[in-house]
Amino acid sequence: MARLKVRISFPDRCKGCGLCAHFCPKEALVVGRNRNVQGYRVVEVVAYEKCTGCGICYLMCPDVVLEVK
């Protein structure tokens, strides 16, 4: 199952709340400076290689921005 990795599938849904980044055990995510159509800062994957595909970020994201696949 190592092939599973985080994807920012729906960046325009993101509200930059930071919950995913906070809970990611690998510190693979961060809320960046770019804004999406809603005007929110958007999450970014800063360490794709560290991602274990554990799904925690998916579980914690209130806006269904991320997928792990």
Partner: protein, 250 residues
């Protein structure tokens, strides 16, 4: 927890959800509860016979997000509307999605009587200890001392009594088949919440009785906390509102 929901798997946007961003504030747990609800409807394969009741509260736009049949009910009357729908068409899988104000303040009679009758419906109560939609007023579940816009000095038990423990009340009714309080402020709890939700649906699908899940839910905006602090504060709520399966007859 069932085999199924624990196994390592990919996590994909649930098909029951529509592709429309939630209107909730950043970090609001309503969104997590929505996703879980969508996942459970999908997993149980009941999308085609699901009937949702949207209540009045921050979640009133439920129908924008779920691709199932949804009816809006007046504030507090979701369980009554759900009762009507389920009695009219027992083949439907009927659920309500309500706030603490909706379920336990204005709608307490409708909520408790539906549970007491053992209606075959699933009720979801998002307990964020305030009236989110109207700007953060006192709710029956506000903690003692908690400041809200209508208790500027904090909830005074001498004036308003103590928080109402809804799950505990419901668990006493023989008509209730599943009753749990969950939280979604930690990954493990999210999984547990999902399982609780699944059973609360099985309660009606297997014709056992009323299913109830209460979510302790962060409201960063009205708590005046950032999303991460708000998520942490849910642990504090859990001291007053134990996270627990109160009844499981599934």
């Amino acid at each position: 927890m069932s085999e199924k929901s624990q196994k390592v798997k990919d996590y994909r946007f649930p098909r029951v959800l529509r592709d429309r961003p939630f209107h909730y504030c950043p970090g609001c747990h309503h969104g997590i509860a929505h996703r879980l609800l969508a996942e459970v409807i999908e997993e149980l394969g009941v999308r085609d016979r699901a009937y949702g009741v949207a209540s009045i509260g921050c979640s009133c736009f439920l129908y924008y997000y779920f691709d199932v049949d949804i009816c809006e009910a007046p504030h507090g009357r979701a369980c009554a509307a759900a009762t009507g729908a389920k009695r009219a068409r027992p083949e439907l899988v009927v659920f309500t999605y309500q706030g603490d104000g909706d379920f336990a303040a204005i709608g307490l009679t409708e909520s408790l009587h539906a549970a007491a009758r053992g209606e075959r419906i699933t009720a979801i109560m998002i307990n964020n200890t305030v009236y989110g939609m109207t700007g953060g007023q006192l709710s029956p579940t506000t903690l003692p001392g908690q400041r809200t816009t209508t208790t500027p000095e904090g909830r005074d038990p001498r004036v308003y009594g103590y928080p109402m423990k809804v799950a505990e009340m419901l668990a006493e009714f023989p008509g209730v088949a599943f009753c749990a309080r969950v939280a979604v402020n930690k990954p493990k709890r999210v999984l547990e919440a999902r399982e609780a939700l699944r059973k609360a649906f099985l309660a009606q699908i297997e014709d056992r009785g009323f299913g109830y899940v209460e979510f302790l839910s962060a409201c960063p905006v009205n708590w005046r906390l950032d999303p991460i602090k708000a998520a942490e504060k849910v642990d504090e709520l859990a001291e007053t509102f134990p996270i627990k399966v109160f009844k499981d007859e599934i």
